[in-house]
Symmetry: C5
Subunit: 83 residues, 5 copies
């Protein structure tokens, strides 16, 4: 898993029905590009979170057919961004 | 998922039959290389879109045996390219 | 999917039986390293092709248990390499 | 598989129930970014370990539905970090 | 698939039982970092080999539940390292 920081919610009205109404969040790896993750926990912007990628991200949503490749599975209690 | 911008349609007459007649689009990540994505939504060039990779991209086409590794699953309502 | 150019056939006499007699081709992404892809279409050196990676590459061979991670699924009609 | 060095335990109280009580460890590839791995062996900080990624990391936990993408599967007997 | 050169055997006494007694080899991509691959062919140090990654690497071991993400599937007959 990788550690990301939540930036904001991403709005996409025109999307495939399989995505249902789970929130899509823009997340950012330290020094990395932005990604979009499905939120299975309930996060707010600024949270440091653990994201699962690959086929494990589908299992994390509780629906193996959910079309994701990145899912937030936990909020980190304390994270000091290393400089 | 990652955010891409749609460039154009890719034509490939000589291809395996499992690809069926779903459109293949050339998409470009900001500052990244071009990729080819299956369009499950209906996009036009210039759209900023969300793409699912890996095994989730097959689920997104509605056919788990579809041989893809990148599928467009949503058009972003508003996307300000960060400079 | 990614776009590659076919370089040449790769010979490997000593290999696991599951690879069968499908041709293995050395392909090259523009500016990227060489990879080895299974050819499900029938290509010649110089062709610009679409390759599927991950679990979709196995579905593309028509045998879900085929041990590949990169399969050529189509030849591009016209491709102008961008300089 | 890749070789990582264990740094420390990662605490995440607010997480999805599927993660159960398996320990999550912060691991670091030489010269690479930090990742988070599920520990299926029993490691202490400083250990050099072998991690499996992708769908194989789920099989390594003994529960195919475990939502991980990186699992520690072995401790290396002797590892001289190459300089 | 990618092309690697075999360096040496990796010893890991303390490992999960699912890894069984298949040999683990340290392999190196040209100019890339070291990885660890399961040997399904029978290689010696110095051999140039083809490795399958992802879920295909599990199929290559003949046991779909084998927890690997990189498996050696063939030895290359002739490989001239390009300079």
């Amino acid at each position: 898993m990788k550690i990301y920081q939540v930036e904001r919610t991403l709005w996409s009205t025109n999307r495939i029905p399989q995505l249902k109404n789970l929130p899509l969040l823009v997340v950012k790896e330290r020094g990395g590009a932005r990604s979009v993750a499905v939120d299975a926990v309930g996060c707010v912007p600024g949270d440091w979170v653990i994201c699962v990628s690959g086929s494990g991200s589908r299992a994390a949503t509780g629906d193996k057919d959910y079309p994701t490749d990145l899912t937030i599975v936990g909020i980190i209690d304390v994270w000091e961004e290393d400089g």
